[in-house]
Symmetry: none
Subunit: 214 residues, 4 copies
């Protein structure tokens, strides 16, 4: 009577290790044996669940983003006012804290791989799109409630904001001395504040601490 979930359990365990290794060593250096070691199984076992390395990494990317997007869905469902929710988005996006940094590194590796991998492009389309929609819906709420300037398409504003976050995070991850987490926070919050209908001259909002995006 095999436990019903051995396969699901093992797969999840191996995929988590794969994400960990991708973040730690870079996709480029991922060795199946490292994943195995981290997962505490043999190399053969990894291949028992994933035919090829490619299949493994594709699944790992998917796994990582599922978790990642799910983790931030609460922001959408929060009943904080829209501008606060945008600030939460910023906070949750900052590459700070092991888990969030790990998630970021995996996203970045995904994007680079996606350039030449249609399967990953599809993955990005799906998860990135979902996230963009979450942010767009906050803008929509904000315009509806009058907290946010009525001019500007919510989707366009969302694209501005998430791309800005991506670009800045990239620099933070690349160890830029000119772009630290703090500078990133300030920059993003300023962008948010300028969208407020009560904007001019107000100080940048105090950072709201929220769980990371990991």
């Amino acid at each position: 009577m095999p436990r019903p979930s051995v396969e699901a359990e093992r797969k999840a365990q191996i995929l988590a290790s794969t994400c960990k290794v991708i973040a730690a060593e870079g996709f480029r250096h991922l060795r199946v044996s490292d994943v195995a070691k981290d997962a505490g199984v043999s190399g053969g076992t990894v291949h028992y669940y994933f035919e090829t390395k490619r299949e493994l990494t594709d699944a790992a990317f998917e796994h990582c983003f599922e978790v990642s997007v799910a983790r931030r869905r609460w922001i959408l469902e929060s009943d904080e006012p829209p501008l606060s929710r945008l600030r939460m988005v910023v906070e949750s996006y900052l590459p700070e804290g092991a888990e969030t940094v790990e998630a970021w590194k995996v996203w970045v590796e995904l994007w680079v791989e996606a350039i030449r991998n249609p399967e990953l492009q599809e993955l990005n389309e799906r998860f990135y799109g979902e996230w963009r929609d979450i942010v767009a819906s906050i803008f929509r709420d904000g315009q509806a409630s009058g907290d946010i300037h009525p001019s500007g398409d919510p989707l366009e504003l969302a694209n501005m904001m998430v791309s800005m976050l991506d670009g800045l995070a990239l620099q933070v991850l690349a160890g830029s001395r000119a772009m630290t987490v703090d500078t990133m926070r300030t920059t993003c919050l300023r962008f948010v504040d300028q969208l407020s209908t009560a904007n001019v001259g107000q100080p940048v909002a105090v950072a709201v601490r929220t769980p990371g995006i990991g």
Copy 2:
């Protein structure tokens, strides 16, 4: 009687090929032999000029960015009005056209590699910083001339803009159907327009065609 410049010539030739291969195949798949083939030399010759693969790729990144940033320096020196220059920046940044796309791909690979490579972090700091400063100086000019809203730190605005460009370009390169070059252009130009002192409700400026960023 070898010309004294034969070494410099060969090196440049090999580095150009390296960039080409990075863009075409991805850093991850770069083989020294591919570079050699593209450069029309033997594998041994590549190692004659670059001791290790790492040395080769580090040099190639440097080579690529030197060219890349130099190519866009004319925007800084243009005597167009600041807002036009910002629109030129946007245009020159769009991942459109073989050369620009190639340059973009190399930048992206650099960032990912830089996460774990201090040498590349330094490189990024240097070239990305130079580029950020170019953009910041345009904002400064715009505020001085009164074309751009006086509120907002020029450097911060520059960070917003270049990070937005980076983030959007990443999605375009990743083949996103939701983020095409056209959407990217519209989004960025809207951002620029909203900074204008003559901003509200004006239509998005007609795209100014400029050479790519390659």
Copy 3:
């Protein structure tokens, strides 16, 4: 209440699958898992009945030849005249029809393996010997009845004939365009006819259709 014969049944089923796989994929490519799949059991089950792969294949060869030789024993017992029986031998040997071809392929694999496997040499000695004796006895009958030339040792004639069949079949199996089943038939029947006491110039006997040797 497991029937006592369940083991024998399962073994036979697994062995049949093994022969099938040997014929289909070649001994060289036989994987225990393929046998298991074909037999509709798990890989573990195969090893439950056969400790090692070697044990499995040795047993499979034996199984195959038992069936194979048994299938042709009726020729010995036929009361057709000796020359007819020889023609039946030829017909039953032609690598034509799925079953016969499968059997041939297994024989061939056996011979090659036997070169380095004493166990299989023994097997070959036994079954091949039995078959040779069957053919020799037909020659003996033919000489006794006067249908076949009295000169020539029956065993030697049998060796000539079966080796010729083997050599020709090998070429047919190897896909030779110069040695088709039809050419093989003609060649062998000519050999038989030339042994007849009423031999010179007679046309080759019409092929006698018989079941294959499988």
Copy 4:
């Protein structure tokens, strides 16, 4: 100034080793590393000259047969009487002596592999065909000179003879106690003698010693 024939030399050396390993271990057990060891080069070197194992073995088969057929071509050109030449064929075919036995083992492995490998089928067609033609031409000569019975198509007789040799050799190689080299010789020579126009009752010709077929 690289020696002009490094490649040809190395290839020949590696192919010879490949044949040796095929004969010694069987095609089934051939490891690239064994070939490398026998050739006194590294595993990498083998792949430097042969992209894949398959390419290596295909080339090795070709190499082996080229040598093998060339070695026996002198029989065709001999000016001995046809029947003597046939006896020489028999002798040169007997799996006796290291070199000849090695060649035989490789032929046998080829045939088995050819069953599922069209490339090898082509190879067999070519070399086996050439050999069959050599033998057929001897029969033709014999009939022209009146030494050999005029009845019987030379090609058909050749097929009888070479297939008989193949079948018998197979049994010898498989270690049959009932089919030794001596029995094989006797059997084949009897076949030859029966073709003589001066045939009845003559003793089997004394074995003519010739170099092996290797």
